[in-house]
Assembly symmetry: C2
Homo-oligomer: 195 residues x 2
């Protein structure tokens, strides 16, 4: 059996002997973890949540005979919304996921203004919106409510602070448990915060 | 003022003298009409509904010095969900839009099985899911409930019928009015059917 990125070694180091919840998940990127989690949620009928495709501006396409169209020139576009959305317990869920190497804060430079506008609109229409933030150096992944991110974003113009302190994320966010199948089991945190 | 695709002529032909609702909209593609409509809904805080980007498999990217990354080889992937989703009145909305030149039926070959599975899942989780179907030859655009499409899809294996009859779409669907700003004002039909 092949484990990605040295997972095997980790499994050996941490035998599942205890009932302690693991919050650690070295190796896979946050995006991979969330994709695996969403697939698991979908297969188990827990929720229908997908990552949106990366927006791309297509400039040139070739149509070779007898084979698939080839895009030969295209550019990455800036996303106008968040990366993930879907439905859970009848509610609209919308979130963005970000990793940072920073230890003491989450830099707001990671976010675009239209993403904040989008989250704000989702919240006003009665949806659930949040960030999943991974502090790579702490090996911790948090669910942090959209309202809080919007608050810090708007505060930028007042106090000039360009980041969300790690302490605020610890206080107002919730650490997401790492599980074997629902690797980043964020819906367990959504249950806790919103239902 | 520039009107796209000969709109001007149409406007001249149909002065807004009556209170009759127009259901006709020659000229723009269904996708363009829906995008314009969604922008209008967003600007007026009516709903937050976006088209998902086209899924693309990127094979090669060049990073020229001092300029943006260029994708030099990529392929279109099949969508695993529907094209549009978002939130309206606190409810999750999910739909697909299709045009057909057929006059008597909507061919199911226009739909992929995973799209049907996706719609089914959305419906089971309490979302609103439907098709927007334009019959180009009739110059009519209908909202047709997801449940009905799923029914016809599943019937294929029983009666072998590979399309949804135009008569069923007239009976169980609702003609979407054409308006100046919300060009394809499908939320007026959603109000009527779901709220």
């Amino acid at each position: 059996m092949n484990y990605p990125n040295g997972m095997r070694k980790r499994v050996k180091k941490k035998p599942k002997s205890s009932t302690k919840i693991a919050y650690s998940n070295r190796g896979m990127s946050l995006e991979e973890d969330i994709n695996v989690t969403n697939s698991y949620y979908l297969e188990t009928n827990r929720a229908v949540i997908h990552k949106k495709p990366t927006p791309i501006q297509i400039v040139n396409v070739n149509y070779p005979k007898r084979s698939a169209a080839v895009i030969t020139e295209a550019y990455f576009k800036q996303a106008s919304t968040t990366d993930y959305n879907g439905i859970y317990q009848g509610k609209h869920i919308d979130f963005e996921a970000k990793e940072t190497k920073n230890k003491t804060s989450f830099p707001l430079a990671n976010i675009h203004e239209h993403q904040i506008r989008h989250m704000n609109a989702i919240l006003k229409h009665g949806g659930i919106s949040f960030f999943i933030i991974r502090f790579k150096e702490h090996d911790e992944t948090y669910l942090y409510p959209g309202e809080k991110i919007v608050y810090f974003w708007e505060q930028q113009n007042n106090d000039g602070r360009k980041s969300v302190p790690y302490t605020s994320i610890q206080k107002d966010g919730v650490l997401i448990p790492f599980k074997y199948q629902a690797r980043i089991d964020y819906l367990s945190v959504v249950d806790q915060l919103y239902f």
